[in-house]
């Protein structure tokens, strides 16, 4: 095919959580404004490898396709990023797709990130309202506080910060920057602040904030530019303060 530009995509595949990983290579016709999701859809419509072998479509998670749902995170050319916003023209070829390595693989590029949602439970990641019945307006808040808190509230639970963190590994279940930053968010809210102590206590349990080794990979990998290292520093301060007060009171 001389006048059709090709995009070569190599995918690390795995049929099940216990399966052995293997690679398959695909040659796709290039089109303008392609992203990695379009590549995966093209493969689904014609699941044939570059060598002409029939295969199965690739399993992967996706939903919003505009980088706000957090589903389609994977390793693209070795980097943790969202497949929907990974534009083919800006990627080095061949394009290498792999599942995240710090989460159990479900199949192919789909991984299980339930750990993050369980962690949100552990740290009591909510504002404990009395009920949904009418209790009037919420607390007033300075615009300055909102402007600080809102960027933290944009965390999409994609797991990129855990994927790049050296402290998340087989021997260590570090809770990760995303969750710690969420605790900071809830502790900033006037009602949330009333229950700051129990969240901080949860962060001081095994796998908590003390496991952060300050590698600072998280902040670079975050697709939403959340100031994660700032959150880690702030929560570290709050944890030390709480520990110290606890120690002084005995």
């Amino acid at each position: 095919m001389p006048d059709v530009k090709e995009v070569i995509v190599r995918v690390k595949r795995q049929v099940s959580p216990k399966g052995t990983p293997y690679w398959e290579e695909f040659a796709l016709p290039w089109r303008p404004a392609m992203n990695v999701i379009i590549c995966l859809r093209d493969i689904a419509e014609n699941p044939v490898t570059r060598e002409g072998k029939k295969t199965t479509p690739i399993s992967y998670d996706s939903n919003c396709l505009e980088e706000v749902c957090g589903s389609c995170a994977m390793l693209i050319n070795g980097k943790a990023r969202m497949a929907c916003s990974a534009l083919v023209d800006k990627l080095e070829k061949p394009i290498l797709l792999e599942p995240f390595s710090k989460f159990p693989v479900v199949r192919d590029l789909a991984v299980d990130r339930q750990f993050m949602f369980e962690s949100l439970k552990r740290v009591k990641g909510w504002i404990p309202i009395d009920g949904t019945y009418d209790l009037g307006e919420g607390p007033r808040m300075a615009p300055e506080t909102q402007e600080k808190a809102y960027p933290l509230a944009r965390c999409i639970s994609c797991g990129s910060c855990l994927e790049v963190c050296p402290q998340v590994n087989d021997n260590n279940k570090f809770i990760g920057a995303a969750i710690i930053s969420q605790v900071r968010l809830f502790n900033m809210h006037p009602t949330g602040a009333m229950h700051a102590k129990e969240r901080i206590a949860a962060l001081m349990e095994p796998g908590g904030i003390q496991d952060c080794a300050n590698a600072q990979n998280c902040v670079k990998a975050c697709p939403k530019d959340i100031p994660l290292t700032e959150s880690l520093a702030e929560m570290n301060r709050q944890a030390w303060k709480q520990a110290l007060v606890g120690w002084l009171i005995g």
Binding site: N46, N63, S85, I129, G138
Partner: protein, 594 residues
Amino acid sequence: MRQPKIIVVGGGLAGLMATIRVAEAGVPVDLFSIVPVKRSHSVCAQGGINAAKNQKGEGDTTWKHFDDTIYGGDFLANQPLVKRMCEAAPGIIDLLDRMGVMFNRTSEGLLDYRRFGGTLYHRTAFAGATTGQQLLYALDEQVRRHEAEDRVKKYEGQTFLSAVIDESGVCRGICAMDLRSMEVKTYPADAVIFCTGGIGAIFGRSTNSVVCTGSAQSALFQQGVDYANGEFIQVHPTAIPGEDKLRLMSESARGEGGRVWVPKNPADTRPARSVPEGERFYFLEEWYPKYGNLVPRDIATRAIHRIVYQEKLGIQGQAAVYLDVTHIPREALDRKLEGILEIYEKFLGIDPREEPMKVFPAMHYTMGGIWVNAEDQATNVPGIFAAGECEYQYHGANRLGANSLVSCIFGGGLAGPAAVKYARSLEKGAESISSGVYDNERKRQEDKNQALISPDGTENPMTIWRELGEVMTEHVTVTRINKDLQAADAKIRELLERYGRINLSDRTRWSNQTLNFARELGNMLVLARVVTLGALQRNESRGAHYKPDFPERDDANWLKTTRAKWVSGEISLSYEPVDISQIPPRARRYDAAK
């Protein structure tokens, strides 16, 4: 007293709100969702949520919100529930605020409000330009709290296949498939609330998320749950074209002062910013002086189509117009619109603070949906309730911007207690139903899977889906012509026939996304016919439904709700009167104050 059990299907705004309300009533809830609920499509809502709080001293009232909504919907919505929704909206904002939503604030620390389409008031509360995401997260957190305290059990990664309906026609639970093990199982319940969102995937590409297929609605329809006003599909005027998705560029861009224009000379090749003011055609401002860039979506979409297809004034001959925010100070853009400008920047590599954006209309919202009653979100099948975008109640022939979030939360909040009340009123609960009822339904669904997976077909589901999207987008969106609608229906029937010869390229039994998609596709095809036939029958123009051959609204013949029924395997349309008890219909025009 017998403890009832409720199932909620769908974990977007409506589903989460329904779940919270059921849990608060002390009744256990099983919450089913295809994706982890925090990844639901509600995250894509951008601009804000409406409530007549009158926080800018403009004399706004809930009645005016109600009137704007009815007028914007071209009088097709039943009025009593819409009125109740608008009255409840300020309380909903308070609740969300208490839940910790990081709404933008004024210098006094109060919530800030901006303007949106179809109103002259600052009525829209917002959290940057990711309001849906922020609202969904707040409700997700409340549900997580109920989950941690054992009132809610989540079944994420499960897709709904069918309702379990007993011999007397009462819903007794659901049948669902685990998307990893592919296991088909039934789950008993005394009432089921469906909050399964829009049907964008039927149009191939839209602003909707991947899971918005309408599959659940269609499955229910084929089990006897009526579907109303299917032909009313909102096409949003401003989206970024893309091959996988048409990404929304929120109305809030215009609410904050963004302007839509084209060069007066379509051959003008200068960069947008070098086109002098006098050589620009701000067609919305010129044609609709009162509302300008903030006319309702159906009006703006048709205006853009007219500019591109009739006036041939698309930018350099392309199907595109400019959406321009470059005159707004950068600081204000970053504070109020960052979320959407970032999308444009990431996906196109162009900074919209410097360069006007190129946009075009895209299928966006499903006004029609599961038929529900005028009191409490109950469908015509006992035990089945519906709330959110999947039902038809609140938006008539056209939804106003920032009304969807409020209708999801109001509807979900209404459905929860209604389902509890219904479940408690039952003499016999699901536990007294014979296991045969459940076994039969499971078997029926397993057989469907088996038929799809058996290796004798030739048709690729992705190809059928692409063809469906093409025909629906071409003939069943902005402009509708009867002979084209007939051709579209013939095409869908052809696709249904080819669907019978489907060939799955994946026949494995673990995490088989191809099988799940094939199941959804079958349901999409049926629902596509409901939309198309509804459009074909309705010989008038009303809200988003526009027929050049019948350009006027025809209240004498068509001030009616379309009600589709499934009668012995065929779609049957009937019509019922609209409740106009509060505001008598009047002509709808946006070139002058109403």
